[in-house]
Symmetry: C2
Subunit: 193 residues, 2 copies
Amino acid sequence: MYESLFNYIKQHSKSPISADDEELIKKSFLPRGLKKKELFLEQGSICNYTGFILKGAMRQYSVDDSGTEHIIQLAIENWWMVDRESFLMKTPSVYNIDAWENTELLVLSLENLERIHTIDAIKEMFWQMNQSNFIASQKRLNYSISLPALERYEELVKNYPDFVQRFPQHTIASYLGISKETLSRVRNKYVHK
Amino acid sequence: MYESLFNYIKQHSKSPISADDEELIKKSFLPRGLKKKELFLEQGSICNYTGFILKGAMRQYSVDDSGTEHIIQLAIENWWMVDRESFLMKTPSVYNIDAWENTELLVLSLENLERIHTIDAIKEMFWQMNQSNFIASQKRLNYSISLPALERYEELVKNYPDFVQRFPQHTIASYLGISKETLSRVRNKYVHK
DNA sequence: CTGCGACGATGACATTTGTCAATAAAGAAT
DNA sequence: ATTCTTTATTGACAAATGTCATCGTCGCAG
């Protein structure tokens, strides 16, 4: 159950984990299941948990005045899902998070995060994760302001081919900030070139 | 000279700073001046320093095939400027960073960062900074994929009025991912509504 | 098995934004 | 003072993308 979490930790830190640490970590993460379409976080409420995905696929998105969803983040196995602003500041979230497939998570409250943050490996892992998240976010932003639709799609296929496999096209379109029709046309160009 | 840096640290952490810590921090940050338009980082080279801006204004941007600049990040007094990916991984950067005004910095190498990272206040400060950077980046991304040009501009004016004051319109346009002509027209709508 | 809803493709058209060119005003350099 | 550069605005037109409607397919719930 906790195997992929510990694998993730080991991959993202060099510090060893004692048996005691391991116990503390296990006690701090709670298992949770989500059915397809079930909400993990609803707009207006506080994000009380960070989730580590053991199995499944999730979406984080905003909904605008016209009811259109805008995908902020997609995540599958071995990714984290949380609205950090809401989680850290305990403020109502402007985003929704739900399960796109039936999903199994390990969830961590802020209190438990602080508790295990005394462990070097955990501290290091979150540090690493923060850095790479920021870098990825900045990269996506760069693409978003500098590349046309086709090239943004190509970058996504190159960097996150799993997303393109696991999520329907209209979700991918929203992630890229374009309409589903535009993505459909852009893909036509893409496969024929 | 180091006053605003220590103010920044105090604002972003609760841990106290001993006299020894203060000395170590002072020794780890080197003062550096940049003249207007002078490069702090050139595309293709490694970003060896993180800079804390004491005075002035800087831009981080990519340059595409057609020679157009795309502004990734703007920064003024009390902001940090760095290409994290290049800085942390010691890989050649895809971005340029330069001074838009004559600028005074305190710069920190990765080695010195690791040296002062033993200090709780520093660790906490960077942790805080990472979190808020990520949140800001995600917010900007959200706007970029979900709002039209006018509303993106309004958000910028609301959240970072200083940027709009300090940088010329074509730079703001590039930051928003639109052409300078579009921004000019959008501003007309904005001031007349 | 059947029907309904989700998904994706496509055409017609509207809207937004970009590009290019011309102009003018404000600064910076000499 | 004069020149040169940078910045901002505007018009005409082009290109990219969005919107709306329609259709066909597929998978799943009843």
